[in-house]
Symmetry: C2
Subunit: 524 residues, 2 copies
């Protein structure tokens, strides 16, 4: 089986992207041993033993569905008529969207905690699998308890249910930790090799139980003063960020504190803490997949007319009966294509990521939160009557803002990965000066740029906002297909225009230009 016989000469750079990545990863793992070893070992072990791989994939699928579920009540809020849209939009934006965003945040916090836990426990057995399933079941209840809480802010039942769920989740996770530390072969190799495992266990339990304890406090408080409970619950969600901020301030004021190097590896809340790239991908895939198909769920259920209706009202003409649904189909196609292409950009980006960090995970989550709103925006855009151009313009602008947000946070994820030249996080091809750098930039800026342009155009030409939007829907997939070509043409033009001068400059002062992105392409 001659694996690469006779294709090397034909292959373009991008086809061997992953292979390089593999080599690169091994190389970098060798050099920056201390930090990468942990996560690298995890992956090696994932292939072997009763690997937790599939358990985690299933958990990611469940969590991603739950995170995006709360957009459904928003999407199903019926628009009554033209004159009421403003109020409805107020209502939507005011409560339901807030519920959706908060649920998304809560579930992703739970997801991040789950990742952290299973970066320490890298092998599982049947008991752990069952405990994890119980934990998942409770997490899936969180959105419902939260929406009760949001709908009835002054009833303590919602608060109690929510806190109860979180406390039980915390307890189950503590049991998981205790169980795993009782069977050290389930643990990460570094902790396994560590002599003082009790310290590790203590540290993890302390971090883990912080949240349930806060919730217990909030639950007790709710009997006296429910407003205080909300403050406490808000603290729970933002606790990681707050504690990190406090640590940062302390470091700045008192100088960095020397910590036990064994402990820094996990359960820190530093933005540079490694995050399983595999799980970020799995969670994102789940969100993109469920969001892409959200509208077909509705279409399959609502858009098949009754046979009796067709016979009586449309004289048996199915085409006539289906015509009113036309906008729904278009909305589905538009949202599927947009979500699909955003997935494609995400896929291209993570193909070049070697190691994800917590900061990248956070930015990625923000991007996903915008993606979750897309089906709603597209439905609004296609459903609103063309007469009421002001409302239509609003809907189009909302869609543009969502697309822009989703794309911009993807770009931000890449920029976060590029920080510190992306030594640990990115493959060299897309780092500053890498051969794929410009192309990646083009891929990730395409959607934000298109959305921004469309937004500005609708401000100027509000009468044609629908037309602009439809043009955007058709043009963007084509742009993606022709992107590589376009980038090459633009680069060739740039080279024509600036090439000779730049080469002269380069000869003189090579150091200055080494950070310029399209340097190698301009020269090559």
């Amino acid at each position: 089986m001659s694996q690469h016989e006779g294709d090397d000469h034909a292959a373009e750079e991008e086809q061997h992207v992953g292979e390089d990545a593999e080599r690169e990863r091994h190389a970098s793992a060798m050099s920056t041993e201390s930090l990468l070893a942990a996560s690298d070992n995890v992956e090696e072990v994932h292939g072997g033993t009763q690997s937790s791989h599939r358990l985690l994939a299933y958990s990611d699928a469940l969590l991603s569905i739950i995170a995006t579920v709360m957009i459904l009540p928003v999407a199903h809020t019926k628009m009554q008529g033209d004159e009421e849209l403003d109020e409805n939009l107020q209502l939507l934006l005011g409560t339901k969207l807030a519920v959706y965003l908060m649920t998304f945040l809560i579930v992703t916090v739970a997801w991040a905690a789950h990742i952290r836990l299973f970066q320490v426990i890298v092998r599982i057995d049947d008991t752990l699998a069952l405990l994890n399933l119980a934990c998942m079941m409770l997490i899936t209840l969180l959105p419902y308890t939260f929406s009760l809480m949001a709908t009835f802010p002054s009833h303590i039942l919602g608060i109690l249910l929510f806190c109860g769920c979180v406390m039980v989740i915390g307890l189950i996770q503590s049991v998981i930790v205790l169980y795993a530390f009782g069977r050290p072969f389930l643990l990460q190799d570094q902790i396994q090799a560590c002599e003082d495992r009790t310290v590790c266990r203590h540290h993890i339990l302390k971090v883990l139980l912080r949240v349930p304890v806060m919730c217990l406090l909030a639950a007790v408080c709710s009997f006296f003063c429910y407003q205080l409970s909300y403050v406490l619950l808000a603290l729970v969600i933002f606790l990681p960020y707050i504690s990190q901020g406090v640590l940062w301030c302390r470091d700045k004021l008192l100088g960095p504190v020397e910590e036990d190097p064994e402990q820094v590896m996990f359960y820190t809340f530093m933005p540079s803490e490694p995050l399983s790239k595999e799980r970020v991908e799995a969670f994102s895939d789940g969100v993109y997949a469920i969001v892409a198909t959200l509208l077909i769920l509705d279409i399959c259920e609502d858009n098949v007319p009754e046979p009796a209706t067709v016979r009586q009202r449309f004289n048996g003409s199915l085409v006539a009966a289906l015509r009113p649904y036309g906008s729904d189909y278009l909305a589905y196609l538009g949202s599927f294509a947009t979500v699909g292409l955003l997935w494609f950009a995400h896929h291209s980006l993570f193909l070049h990521v070697v190691q994800a960090t917590r900061l990248m995970g956070l930015l990625n989550t923000m991007s996903l939160a915008f993606v979750g709103g897309l089906p709603l925006a597209f439905r609004l855009t296609h459903e609103l009557p063309h007469a009421a151009s002001r409302d239509e313009r609003r809907a189009v602008q909302a869609a543009c803002v969502l697309v822009f947000g989703a794309g911009a946070f993807q770009l931000a994820t890449w920029v976060a990965a590029l920080q510190g030249s992306g030594q640990r996080t990115l493959r060299p091809a897309v780092r500053y000066g890498g051969p794929e750098h410009v192309f990646m930039l083009a891929k990730l800026t395409l959607y934000p740029a298109v959305a921004l342009t469309a937004f500005l155009l609708t401000c100027a030409l509000s009468r044609f906002s629908a037309t602009i939007f439809h043009l955007m829907e058709i043009a963007t997939p084509l742009a993606f297909l022709l992107l590589r070509l376009t980038v090459r043409v633009v680069l060739a033009l740039l080279r024509r225009l600036f090439g000779p001068q730049r080469r002269q400059t380069l000869n003189g002062e090579e150091n200055i230009c080494s950070g310029v992105p399209f340097n190698p392409l301009l020269i090559g």
Copy 2:
């Protein structure tokens, strides 16, 4: 990083399951090179190059959602009252369930074709990724066109839309094949190394275009005689099985035909053709995850009462307002637990699978189709008033049948894997005589046995059917937790009872007993 230092002595067999699997896989790959090489290479390559891994995971997620979506219209059919349940059940079982099952079948056929295609094309580039997304978008439209067809069987519009979708999908897949054969480094190594690639391409295109051509015929036929179209479409779905049956008959009648060994590897329709284990897992995970959370989708949307209603009708008591929803919560918990545990059994099984085959994939799909109906059955079971004991019994029995079907087909998957002693398909631990064999048997028979018992009990004690069902819901998770213990106790008892005699027999006639499952455990 001493990876396995000092844990070998503490580890039980099952914790090192995967490691053994890895070793075993490599060993078996060496020995039965000709057949396994292809699939093995695929996995190796998946790790490297611009791997198609994530594209396939995303496609699997999309397809699994689409396959299970059509249960929603069934689940949302409201039960009007006690006396109408019979008619409603007739209606449900008659049309909507049929639509669900057929959609499931169609999507899984499309999924199998997709697997087959991407077992040949093992690396991707941007163009292929975009083409694949277009293909996915059209596949997600299939359930809707199919339900139009089912609701309006005599309108040709449904047939035309369905055939149109299938034809465009076929065309896109042909374009993918042509594109990939134009860039041979994207192909499987075996085909890459093959000298006469045109033959392979021709073979693949012939198989691929068979379906669109049939659909074109069906579309043309629909203008003259739509009944004939349905016959043709049914042929399309069962074509693989028919052609395989024909081949099997030919082989039996004329003796096996010597085929080009290069070509037998892919696009045969033999039940032993290898199927990507990874993708079977990913698709199953998607189905299990979406089915587990189907009810929470409804709960989040429908079960939050209006603040005004609570104030007026329940005197502001939220607990009183939520009480009517109690059965929904129980149904959710019950269905989540059942689906979760079925996933757990599936997970345990596939942990020991080295190589999946088409037959295993088919049986697994049947199991998943039953799983898809579970939320509906659980909702019915919990929603029906306790007074109408006959309807309740029916609902409980339907739930038992679904659970039994799901579990029985999982068991069948294992039995299919065991065929021919499972040399290629299973790890030695769970083959006949392996140390984990009995335990796996217990895990996989638990649900069918419980469901069967519950079914029989409801027949005998129809008055207590609800109680029996609730007991089953509580007892099964406990049984799973205590399964290993129970199996050990039972085996110890068996050893006590039959051990001595058997050992005597064994000394005499060792050959006969070598196939007995719990042989080593009885002796050891």
